[in-house]
């Protein structure tokens, strides 16, 4: 309790004019700091895109060109024409599509059970799906390899799909459960009183209401499956089976990296993720911390 802070009900005139100006100066200072932080954070991404559009001799120059003055698409055509680019695109698309579709169905059913029913073992399952998210993937890769080689699923897309599905399920179940809990029970009951069956109530009332949740979780599953590297790297050994991330990582293992095409390839593989990410970013932040905020 310091006596310095007066609780003045009526501000005196000079104070009133000085305070806003000082506040404005301070705000300007904070904005400048914000600008510096923004530049530092975004620069690597900018540098990737800028390099991708530069002609070869500008990429390999001792004094870097900050802005690509003569932009060219050469790096992109070179990246696309590298061996196995289209194979990788195809594999990545197959894997992500199947993972998204299966995870949506399985997660929705499980979330329905968790949100709309009370049953024995419910808590145990919730603890299980929260707990398995903690298991490090890099530790599981060894037993998974043994398991998959026993059932002959090494170097097959189906094996990778099964693993990706498992790793996105806990999150998707948990997030969809949150959405389903948000649907008021009265709405369902009103629909059933109006003579629809439980299934009819589900289709007409529940589905439209959890639509945004389904979109968010499917995009999450897409990003996870699209970005994953370790499993694809270990399990898809032949080059025509690899995904885009493995294809991209194989650039660096060559003697003398071709930075221009590599940055073009990196830009191409990032575009779908960045678009989807901007769409659902708030949902994902919310879902990952839901356990803490609600507990």
């Amino acid at each position: 309790m310091s006596a310095v802070t007066p609780i003045a009900p009526t501000p005196v005139a000079p104070v009133a004019t000085r305070a806003p100006r000082r506040r404005r100066v301070r705000k300007l200072g904070w904005n400048l700091v914000g600008l510096v932080v923004l530049i530092v954070m975004v620069f690597p991404v900018y540098w990737m895109v800028a390099t991708a559009f530069k002609p070869g001799q500008q990429v390999l120059s001792y004094t870097p060109q900050w802005v690509p003055l003569n932009p060219t698409l050469d790096n992109f055509t070179e990246a696309i024409n590298r061996p196995h680019f289209w194979d990788s695109v195809k594999n990545s698309l197959i894997i992500t599509t199947v993972v998204v579709a299966l995870s949506l169905v399985l997660a929705f059913l499980a979330a329905l059970a968790l949100a709309k029913f009370r049953f024995y073992g419910r808590k145990a399952f919730i603890v299980l799906i929260l707990g398995v998210q903690m298991v490090p993937l890099t530790a599981l890769i060894i037993p998974l390899y043994i398991l998959m080689s026993r059932v002959d699923q090494v170097n097959k897309l189906s094996g990778v799909i099964a693993m990706y599905l498992t790793f996105v399920l806990p999150f998707t179940v948990w997030t969809l459960r949150g959405f389903l809990l948000g649907v008021p029970k009265e709405l369902e009951e009103a629909a059933m009183v109006d003579g629809t069956t439980r299934f009819g109530a589900f289709v007409r009332i529940l589905l439209p209401l959890v639509g945004p949740g389904l979109v968010a979780t499917s995009i999450f599953a897409f990003i996870q499956a699209w970005n994953e590297f370790i499993i694809a790297y270990v399990f898809l050994q032949s080059p025509e089976k690899q995904t885009l991330m493995v294809w991209l990582a194989s650039f660096t293992s060559l003697r003398g990296t071709e930075w221009g095409p590599l940055m073009a390839g990196a830009t191409l593989t990032s575009i779908p993720v960045v678009i989807f990410f901007l769409l659902v970013q708030r949902r994902i932040a919310f879902g990952l911390t839901a356990g803490a905020v609600r507990g």
Partner: protein, 318 residues
Amino acid sequence: MVTVAESEYPLASRRRRRFSRQRIGRGLAPYALLAPAAAVIGVILAYPLYLLVSLSFQKYGLFELIRHKGRGIGVDNYTRILHDSQFWQVLGRTVLFTVVAVSLTMVLGTAIALLLVQVSRFMRLALTTGLVLVWATPVVVAVNIWHWMVDFEFGVANYALTKLHLGDFIRHDWFESPWSGFGVITALVVWGAIPFVTITVYAGLAQVPQELLEAAAIDGARPWSAFREVTLPLLKPIFVILISLSIIWDFQVFQQIWIMLDQRPASDYYTMAIYAFSQSFRLSEYGLGSAIAVVMVLFMFLATIVYLRQMLKAGEVH
């Protein structure tokens, strides 16, 4: 009259029977809904976890891989790694990396979140968009970008540092010494982890009641002590979860090092995950690799026990 009563009775009992069958159906419904997801998680997450522990007590090499059957050797794998000086080095290196990376991530992430509160609305929008852009960058892409930026010949980092007169960095190889190499890797990991921390902490800050901060200010609290006494305790659950997740992510760091060092890192760059991976997939010592991985899991479990307790509580509430 009698006929009516007779005809009514079977109707009622039929209705009752249908009702009970419906009840049984409803009782089983949640299990049927849960079954597919539970089966997948059981086969591909729970069983491998068991397999990991059981492999760590076996001799499991190439021969055993082909036969699909290991040979039990008790705790030999564990005594081998515990008497291996390299194991202790790797463990120490991983712990040090995790402590540094998690601290930097949390401090910088929180600082930027506090900055977001202060800046103008336009700057806030620009910063958030930039952060999401960084967040969205796939890890493999991020590693390649940083690799390019610190390239010893044409990298922009060496040029800029030399121009800023911070030393002679022309043709400086960042990966010659593991210390500076890990510096680059830490910068890359922290850069990629900041957006999630910042956006989560910022969302938490928005929920701190303004009256509390005003009351603190009236009581004469300076901004820093108001932050420590009011904001931090309120955000504690968020910090617990963020620190735990960061520990989990950083302690098992793999891709950043693996790709940055052209998929064949020298042993100076081994962390727990890379050590376990190399023992298994390079030397075909799957049992030994499993033992290392088990130790890694135990360490992460100990480091995140507060978070686990919080999660168990969350599971009980609902």
